[in-house]
C-alpha cells in the first residue's frame, strides 16, 4: 500500500515566542525547530507499521522552504522511502492543503496521514481540508488502527471518550497520541536517508483567504498570591469574593 504522510516543522515548545517590531511576523531568531510531534511520533510511525505489515511504502510531503530539508531527512531516517517538498512558505492551512491535495490527486495513495494538529497554531485544519478537496472520508484524532484487507477499524478521541468506526481505504486520517510509539532514528537509518529521493516541486498559485494581520502578547501574569496552607477558608473566600468563580 502507498501512504502519503504530511509533515511540518514547529518551534520546540520551550522556544522563545517573539515577534517583529510591528508585531506582524513571528520572529524565528534563536528558535529551534522540530518535526511536529503528532506528525513524527504517531502519524509517520503508524504509516510505517502498516507498510511493514502489509507491504508498500511511505512518502512524506512537506510544504515549506529549503531549510526544512534537515527535518525532512529525519523523517526519511525514521523510515519513509522518499520525500516531496513543495517549495513555498506555508502561509495558511488552505494553501498547504491545496498544495498537498493537488499533488496527491492522481497518485493513487491508499491513505493520507496527518498529525492531529501542529503544536504552534493548533489548527487541526489541513487534514479535513485535504479530505474535502479529494472527496475522501476523514477520521480525526485516531488513537488506534487495525487494517484487514481494505477495511480499517479506527478508534478516535472524542470529548470524554472514544468512538470506534469502520471505513474502507482510501481515506485521510489525523493521528493522536497512542496511535503508535515514537521511533528514534538509528545510525543506519540516518546514513540511508542521505541517499533517499527528495523531490522539490513548485507550488500551484493560490491566494490566501486567511492571514495573520497582527500578533499580541498577553499581559504578564501578576505574581502568585500565597495562601497559608492551614487556612483554606481564606482561599475559598478569595475564589468566591475576589475571583468570583465559585
Amino acid at each position: 500500500m502507498k501512504i502519503l504522510v504530511c509533515i511540518t516543522k514547529t518551534p520546540d515548545t520551550t522556544a522563545p515566542v517573539r515577534f517583529s517590531a510591528d508585531n506582524k511576523e513571528y520572529n524565528p531568531a534563536g528558535v529551534a525547530y522540530i518535526l511536529n510531534p503528532y506528525d513524527e511520533w504517531y502519524s509517520l510511525v503508524c504509516a510505517l507499521e502498516l507498510t511493514e505489515k502489509h507491504g508498500g511504502a511511505v512518502t512524506v510531503i512537506n510544504v515549506g522552504p529549503a531549510d526544512n530539508e534537515t527535518l525532512i531527512r529525519k523523517a526519511l531516517a525514521i523510515g519513509a522511502a522518499d520525500a516531496i517538498r513543495i517549495d513555498a512558505n506555508p502561509s495558511s492551512a488552505l494553501f498547504v492543503a491545496k498544495q498537498i491535495a493537488g499533488y496527491a490527486k492522481d497518485k493513487g495513495y491508499d491513505a493520507i496521514f496527518c498529525g492531529k494538529e501542529t503544536i504552534d497554531y493548533n489548527g487541526a485544519e489541513v487534514g479535513p481540508m485535504i479530505a474535502e478537496l479529494l472527496d475522501l472520508p476523514f477520521l480525526s484524532f485516531a488513537n488506534h488502527l487495525e487494517l484487514d484487507g481494505r477495511k480499517a477499524k479506527v478508534s478516535r478521541d472524542i470529548e470524554g471518550g472514544t468512538e470506534v468506526v469502520e471505513v474502507e481505504l482510501p481515506f485521510v486520517l489525523s493521528a493522536a497520541k497512542d496511535l503508535a510509539e515514537q521511533r528514534i532514528p538509528n545510525m543506519m537509518g540516518i546514513m540511508k536517508a542521505k541517499q533517499k529521493p527528495l523531490q522539490v516541486i513548485p507550488p500551484a498559485p493560490f491566494e490566501d483567504k486567511a492571514v495573520i494581520a497582527v500578533y499580541e502578547t498577553p499581559p504578564a501574569k501578576s505574581s502568585v498570591r500565597l495562601i497559608d496552607p492551614e487556612n483554606m477558608d481564606e482561599l475559598v473566600r478569595l475564589l468566591h469574593e475576589e475571583a468570583k468563580i465559585i
Binding site: 503544536i119 470524554g160 471518550g161
Partner: protein
C-alpha cells in the same frame, strides 16, 4: 446574508458548547445587521429552544445518512444549508467533530477560516478574529478575506445568553451522499461534564503517589462540581484514564478555575492549561515552576491541604 451556526447535539441533547456557538453566532449577526440561523442535523427534539440563545430561525435536516457522524456527509448537509440560508459566515463549536467540519467546510467553500476563536469578530479593519497561539503565549488576529468565512469557537470563550425566545423549527431537505464511515461503538463518560466544557477543573499529578489516593481529589471535585484531569505521567502510568490527560499532547482546556495538585508545571503541561482564567496551585515545593503561572498558591503537603480545602468549600456552599 446571514450567519449560520451549525449546532452539535449528542443523541438529541444540546451541550453548553452548542449554546455558546449560537450566542456567538447571534452576536456576530447583530454586528453585521443580519439574521442568525441555527442548523441542527439528525434527530433532536426541542431544537426550537435554540431561539432562546439567539437563533432567529432554526433549520433541521432529518435523514438516515445523518444517524452517525461522518464529516463528509455532514459537510454536504451544512453546505446546502449555507445556500438555503444565504449565509456567508458559518460558526461551529471547536469540538472534536466541529474541528473536522471546519476544515472540510473551508475547503468546500474556498473560505478563510479560524480554528478555535476566542473572541467575537471585529469589522472596522477588515473581518478579523482572534485566537490563542503558541500554547497561549500569544494571540494571533486573523484577517479573513474571502466571501465565505468559517469560524470554530473555543469552549468557554463566550457566556451563553438565553434571553431570547424559542422559535419554530423549519425542516430542510438535503441531498446527501451515503456515509462511508460506519460507527461500531461510541463510549462517552456519562454524568460528568467533559473536560473541554468544564468551568471548574481539579487536576492532579505525580505528587499523588498512586492511583489509590485519588479519593481526596474526587472529593474536592465533587464539592466544587468540577471535572477531574491529570498530568501526562499519571495517564501514561494508567493511574487515570487517558481522556483526563491535559497538556500539549493531551487536550487543551480553558476553564474558569484550574486547581493543580502535585503537578510541577512543566511547559508541556502548561501548554494545555495556561489559558484558564484563574489557576490555583497546591505543591509542597515552593520552587515548583507552576507557581509562576498561578494566581493563588498553597505551599504545603497535598494530603493535608486537600481535605481541608474540600471542607472549606462544603462550608461555603452550605451557607
Amino acid at each position: 446574508m446571514a450567519v449560520l451556526v451549525y449546532v452539535e447535539h449528542h443523541n438529541g441533547a444540546f451541550k453548553k458548547t452548542a449554546f455558546e456557538a449560537v450566542t456567538y453566532g447571534r452576536k456576530t449577526a447583530d454586528s453585521l445587521g443580519v439574521p442568525c440561523v441555527a442548523l441542527v442535523l439528525g434527530k433532536a427534539d426541542g431544537a426550537g429552544e435554540l431561539g432562546r440563545y439567539g437563533a432567529s430561525r432554526v433549520l433541521q435536516v432529518q435523514d438516515p445518512a445523518l444517524e452517525n457522524f461522518d464529516s463528509q456527509v455532514y459537510t454536504a448537509a451544512i453546505a446546502q444549508a449555507v445556500q438555503a440560508a444565504g449565509a456567508k459566515v458559518i460558526v461551529l463549536a471547536h469540538t472534536s467533530n466541529g474541528k473536522a467540519l471546519l476544515g472540510r467546510l473551508a475547503a468546500k467553500l474556498d473560505a478563510g477560516s479560524v480554528s478555535g476563536a476566542t473572541a467575537l469578530p471585529t469589522a472596522n479593519n477588515g473581518f478579523r478574529v482572534r485566537k490563542n497561539v503558541f500554547s497561549g503565549k500569544a494571540i494571533a488576529e486573523y484577517e479573513l478575506k474571502s466571501e465565505y468565512k468559517v469560524i470554530s469557537i473555543a469552549g468557554n470563550s463566550i457566556r451563553p445568553d438565553a434571553s431570547g425566545s424559542p422559535v419554530a423549527v423549519e425542516s430542510l431537505a438535503a441531498n446527501l451522499p451515503a456515509p462511508k464511515i460506519r460507527t461500531l461503538e461510541l463510549k462517552r463518560i456519562e454524568g460528568e461534564i467533559p473536560l473541554p466544557e468544564a468551568e471548574v477543573v481539579v487536576s492532579a499529578g505525580r505528587g499523588m503517589k498512586g492511583p489509590e489516593n485519588w479519593g481526596i481529589v474526587e472529593d474536592l471535585a465533587k464539592a466544587l462540581g468540577a471535572t477531574t484531569a491529570c498530568s501526562r505521567p499519571v495517564a501514561d502510568s494508567g493511574w487515570r484514564p487517558h481522556h483526563e490527560h491535559v497538556g500539549q499532547t493531551g487536550i487543551a482546556i480553558r476553564p474558569n478555575l484550574y486547581i493543580a495538585i502535585g503537578i510541577s508545571g512543566a511547559i508541556q503541561h502548561l501548554a494545555g492549561v495556561n489559558n484558564s482564567k484563574v489557576i490555583v496551585v497546591i505543591n509542597k515545593d515552593p520552587d515548583a515552576p507552576f507557581f509562576k503561572a498561578a494566581d493563588y498558591g498553597v505551599v504545603g503537603d497535598l494530603f493535608e491541604v486537600l481535605p481541608r480545602l474540600t471542607e472549606a468549600v462544603k462550608k461555603m456552599k452550605g451557607s
